[in-house]
Symmetry: C2
Subunit: 330 residues, 2 copies
């Protein structure tokens, strides 16, 4: 089996460029592989960057193709949260010389596949030697007319999400523990192919008072919005995915953990004025998405109350945070 060190960087660069050339030619005056690349842009651009490191961000048991797909999805989700429409992607890779060629090719295919789904063109990047795989994805996007920050939530606003939560964490749990029943398989499938909410984000840029993606978990997203907007939340209807509920029962995993502290779900969490709620829902449905009301903004800065098992509990703040010792056990 050939490894990257058998072919060298030049081969890798040629391989990458050959998969990009046709589309980049239509977009740029420079050719793929030049020092820099020019991109048509609207008068303003929106950019986001997100790095994945094999050691901490890539669970074992995921195919390289899915790893590539998820890396692009993760950055795209940040763009979606601000209502952007992807134009171009740049991808920096750190690759171990002992990586199998076919694994690298699968990784790259996943990257290209996701970029195509989100309507952006991969225009180039950089390759490097490293001991573990590193994937850093930049997305350059067309911003919407109106930009929604994290700080605009006001008391009385509805808080809503673009999908249900918990199945991703259940899938991760199943994968790491080799659980393979029907529920586990459904959860894993969903976890491997999250979808960045580009279309929903575009619509929400017209209606939302604040917006964030949920890549670090629903609880973390609510906390960030509450801190940025200086408000609190009452969550009457936690957005529990039925797969997560079943998985929780079968395998005795805490459902609150699955739903609120999971992460790697790329739904949007937004606040919206009640007056425009129905209109926003209608427009989201028109683009094929959905908007799920989970509660309200309240006048208690930093507090998040969730109706859980018949009573209200206060959500503790313990999102996933890198660097603290505990994060390594994950």
């Amino acid at each position: 089996m050939k490894k990257l060190k058998d072919v060298g960087e030049r081969w890798i660069t040629r391989y990458i460029n050959s998969t990009l050339r046709e589309k980049v030619e239509k977009l740029s005056r420079l050719s793929v592989g030049d020092d820099a690349i020019d991109i048509p842009s609207p008068q303003k651009i929106l950019v986001a960057i997100d790095m994945m490191v094999e050691e901490t961000d890539i669970p074992r048991g995921i195919s390289w193709r899915d790893v590539g797909y998820r890396a692009v999805t993760s950055t795209t989700s940040d763009i979606a949260a601000k209502g952007g429409k992807p134009i171009a992607y740049l991808v920096s890779l750190g690759l171990p010389p002992n990586m199998l060629l076919q694994d690298f090719e699968e990784l790259w295919k996943g990257i290209i596949e996701a970029a195509e789904i989100y309507g952006g063109v991969v225009v180039g990047g950089d390759t490097n030697t490293s001991s573990k795989v590193i994937i850093d994805v930049v997305c350059i996007a067309e911003p919407p007319q109106r930009l929604v920050s994290r700080s605009g939530a006001r008391v009385g606003d509805i808080v809503a999400v673009t999908g249900l939560f918990g199945s991703h964490s259940a899938g991760l749990h199943a994968l790491l523990n080799n659980i393979e029943d029907d529920t586990a398989i459904k959860a894993i499938e969903k976890m491997l192919r999250p979808v960045a909410r580009i279309k929903e984000g575009r619509v929400l840029s017209e209606y939302a008072t604040s917006c964030i993606d949920s890549s670090d978990g629903l609880a973390e997203s609510l906390y960030i919005l509450s801190e940025s907007s200086n408000i609190g939340f009452r969550v009457d209807h936690p957005p529990i995915d039925v797969i997560a509920e079943k998985y929780s029962e079968k395998h005795s995993v805490d459902l609150l953990d699955l739903v609120f502290y999971g992460g790697e779900e790329y739904e949007l969490v937004v606040t919206i004025k009640p007056e425009v709620w129905e209109e926003a829902c209608r427009e989201i449905e028109e683009v094929g998405g959905r908007l799920i009301k989970i509660g309200h903004v309240i006048d208690e800065p930093g507090k998040i109350y969730v109706r859980w098992g018949g009573e209200f509990i206060e959500l503790r703040k313990r999102g996933y945070t890198h660097f603290l010792e505990s994060s390594f056990s994950r």
Copy 2:
């Protein structure tokens, strides 16, 4: 001594954001630290990305501040080669939990320092846990009126560079071998603080027929231009830095290696029509730079001849390439 794991990602993010806030506010409608950030752009933008990985790209003995400075310089040099004017930078960091806080702060200061020198604003990025330091820098720039590719060199064009070569490799050699005489110290100083040729690149975008930066070594740059443009080069006047020459004599290091196979020098290598040569030189001098004629484009695709010690030799192709076994010995 405090380490990153003692303070956590949130502290790091706050630290980073506090150093960026003031300038980003002037540039963007969104705040620093939001999912994505909007940037004013001309109708077209120019982008480049370059990753540095501690294991392979960061020689021992360099201060973290210089590491940060050099990472930004490296990406900026790609932009300079295409005549771009930096607008904004995004920086993705992989950081080991055991890294000392003060080392991280120095690294970040070097990043900010370089961005300011090059006239761009660091608008955000991403932080991650990794076993070794990773610095991935994106530069978003205003493209020049005219974009110069790698493929426009024609027979009879002058080939020129924006600076002398060899002192960087000498500096690296001195650093790795703990050599500390006067020449070595001069070489090390020059190596630690290379300058991306933004002003020169802007001028050259009006005059050059092809242009590339020399981050992988002068020989490699000449080879890439020769392959892209399907021509060859005769180098009558190798651009030897006097520091490299002295160092070579004192420490028995091959001068040809230092000058042609060094890398990490961020000069530009360009071809220019003889008719506009003098005008180009004048304009480059006006912006404080210099243009050094080293030879001509010849009609022998892929061949590079260099006048060396009274005779012409053919340059072998052996730039630094990642992934091949040999690259690890570097």
